[in-house]
């Protein structure tokens, strides 16, 4: 075996790459061989890197065998941890890229055909089970985990236990996603009614509120027709419209209005998982229990001020402000996930509240409170806590990173950040520091100092 042959065989390229390289080796014998071999290996690697995800995506679209995905319609006007109240549940099959056999049920009557709630056991998060002193919840309220990535496999398991149906993944869509899909694809007509992006949320609420049967078949029929119309529109769309739709879906996923949990088929990042980043971290997760369909009319402001002490330790002030534009009380169980080993020093509330409750959570610390916000007014909760050093240093430079994760289901929030540097430190560069950053996604705050 010559030098290049040994090279190609010495690295673990996998059987196909090695065969390709060996095949090329046997066909050539001139002095330019080394360069060409290297080129072939690189091309095979690049093609492999492109093909593996493509094969995964094709598999997810049911090209090799039919896939079944559970569907979760989250009503984000009634916010819950993973994005919204579980309004409707169902499933859809996908074969050769074609969605078929869409099923939807009202969440109260999904598995029982009655209005009695199906009760499931949840084993966390601790903040929820401690505060509400229960591990049993109705199926429709089971999305108490802090992110969809944690909830989805639990829901798939519960669904399999209840129905015997095995699923290849779970897809969640909220009302903002419905709005944006209609904005992209145009209005549809359902039962002679024109449904546009402007009226879709209210129409769904109206149909739900006026449904006569407890199983709300009016609602599920309406939603099934809406979904089928959207699918048909997507299938008949031209190439540019399909690209536009793909772009919308990508944006909705980034903003966590459309979440896909498909283990083995899709890379991480589509399932809204908690981002375990180095440095400082903040993730405010709210659940509106018994606060009505209020959340599209509640504005959130997160104000975060951290002081980096001379020894690197931090003292942080976090204020979460809710502006309730509804004419009824907004009641929210709010949890701030902050770095592990955070120590709460103080909690202050501007309105009626219960808390604080501090619990550990998978490498993070959860600080929770239950807050009531009166109609047409604002209320806030302020936590003061210390943190072990999260800033890193490289030579004479200090580097502070804060990752603020947006909760699924929330349309937008305002972020105010302020970082006080150690005594004598000089600011070199900063990004996303300041007041009034209105955002609909995650924010990375970065400060470099000398």
């Amino acid at each position: 075996m010559n030098a290049i042959g040994r090279f190609a065989g010495s690295i673990n390229l996998g059987k196909h790459y090695k065969l390709a390289a060996d095949g090329y080796l046997s066909m050539t014998s001139d002095s330019g061989r080394p360069t060409r071999y290297a080129a072939v290996v690189i091309i095979v690697l690049v093609l492999g890197a492109l093909l593996v995800p493509a094969v995964g995506a094709l598999g997810a679209l049911g090209y090799f065998h039919e896939k079944t995905y559970l569907l979760v319609l989250q009503d984000n006007s009634e916010l819950r941890n993973t994005g919204g109240f579980l309004a409707c549940l169902g499933s859809i099959d996908v074969q050769n890229g074609e969605p078929t056999n869409l099923k939807l049920h009202y969440s109260n009557s999904t598995y029982t055909n009655t209005t009695n709630d199906t009760v499931v056991k949840v084993d966390g998060p601790e903040s929820f089970t401690t505060f509400y002193d229960t591990q049993l919840v109705p199926l429709r309220d089971m999305n108490v985990q802090y992110d969809f990535a944690t909830f989805a496999p639990l829901y798939a398991a519960a669904s399999q236990e209840l129905t015997g149906q095995r699923a290849d993944g779970v897809i969640a869509v909220d009302f903002t996603a419905l709005q944006e899909l209609l904005k992209t694809m145009g209005p549809v007509t359902i039962g002679n009614e024109m449904i546009t992006w402007r009226n879709v949320i209210d129409r769904v609420h109206y149909v739900s509120a006026t449904a006569k049967e407890a199983s709300k078949t009016d609602l599920t029929t309406f939603l099934k027709e809406l979904a089928n119309k959207l699918i048909a529109t997507a299938q008949t769309a031209g190439p540019v419209e399909k690209l536009l739709l793909l772009s919308t879906v990508q944006t909705l996923n980034q903003q966590r209005h459309l979440l896909i949990y498909a283990p083995g088929a899709l890379p991480n990042g589509y399932d809204g998982a908690i981002q375990h980043k180095a440095g400082d971290y903040l993730y405010v997760v709210d659940s509106n229990y018994a606060g009505g369909k209020a959340d599209l009319n509640v504005n959130r402001t997160i104000t975060y001020h951290t002081r980096i002490q001379d020894d690197g330790m931090q003292t942080s002030n976090l204020t979460i402000t809710y502006r309730n534009n509804c004419w009824w009380d907004y009641k929210v169980f709010t949890t701030a996930l902050v770095p592990k080993d955070a120590e709460l020093l103080d909690a202050r509330y501007s309105s009626h509240a219960l808390g604080p409750l501090v619990t550990p959570s998978d490498g993070l610390t959860a600080i929770s409170s239950w807050v009531v916000v009166a109609p047409h007014s604002a209320a806030n909760v302020t936590y003061t806590y210390t943190l072990p050093a999260t800033a890193s240093s490289a030579g004479v430079f200090g580097h502070y990173d804060l990752y603020v994760q947006k909760q699924a289901g929330i349309d937008h929030y305002t972020l105010n950040t302020d970082v006080t540097l150690p005594h004598g430190a000089q600011l070199i560069r900063e990004s996303n520091v300041g007041n009034g950053t209105a955002t609909n996604g995650d924010v990375h705050v970065e400060v470099i100092y000398h």
Binding site: K183, P187, I195, N199, D202, S208, L244, W328
Partner: protein, 193 residues
């Protein structure tokens, strides 16, 4: 040597040309994908159907089997609009603060069955025409309990009268211009300005 230089130059030219073409294609694609113009028309321009009958605010008009009266056009922030929603929508399904950059207009409409027998009526057939000439479709309707039944059944019984508050989401910079009931023959157009 010279031949090799020429080959290299030719290859470089082809590569650069390919890169330029790829950049142009990607830019065009990106523009197409992000352009609002590629999106389908959301609220189409209202096309007046003729013949039709016209009325003004607070003027009762009858067309076919239906009598219609528009008494008030409100912004959802007005106390009365809020009051209506508080009374009728105890289930808290219809908040009155819509999408950013938009507002709700609430129209108070009274409809009545003008003849014997049942008359079809659907509030989703009521269309608001904005000052921008576009048609906006109903979001929600609030009413008292007996009227809710009529709305759900999509018909008015003999002698049936319904007092409705219909909400439309329209852009902030658009004013309500006309209310059209499309299902009657002929259609009813009420000038709101």
């Amino acid at each position: 040597m010279r031949r090799r230089s020429k080959a290299v130059a030719a290859s470089a030219t082809v590569l650069i040309a390919a890169i330029i073409v790829a950049i142009i294609l990607l830019t065009t694609l990106q523009t197409a994908v992000t352009s609002e113009s590629t999106r389908r028309e959301q609220n189409p321009a209202y096309v007046e159907v003729k013949p039709n009958v016209h009325a003004r605010l607070n003027e009762t008009i009858t067309a076919g089997n239906l009598t219609l009266l528009v008494t008030r056009v409100m912004n959802s922030n007005e106390p009365e609009a809020r009051h209506v929603w508080t009374i009728y929508e105890t289930d808290r399904y219809a908040p009155l603060n819509p999408i950013q950059g938009s507002k709700y207009v609430i129209i108070n409409v009274t409809v009545a069955n003008a003849k014997n027998g049942t008359t079809p009526f659907r509030y989703s057939d009521v269309v608001l025409v904005g000052s921008d000439g576009k048609a906006y479709y109903a979001n929600y309707a609030a009413s008292n309990a007996s009227c809710k039944v009529s709305i759900h059944d999509e018909q008015l019984k003999t002698g049936g009268v319904c007092d409705l508050y219909i909400a439309f989401s329209i852009p902030d910079n658009v004013a309500p211009a006309k209310l059209v009931y499309e299902a009657s023959r002929p259609p009813i157009i009420v000038d709101l300005a």
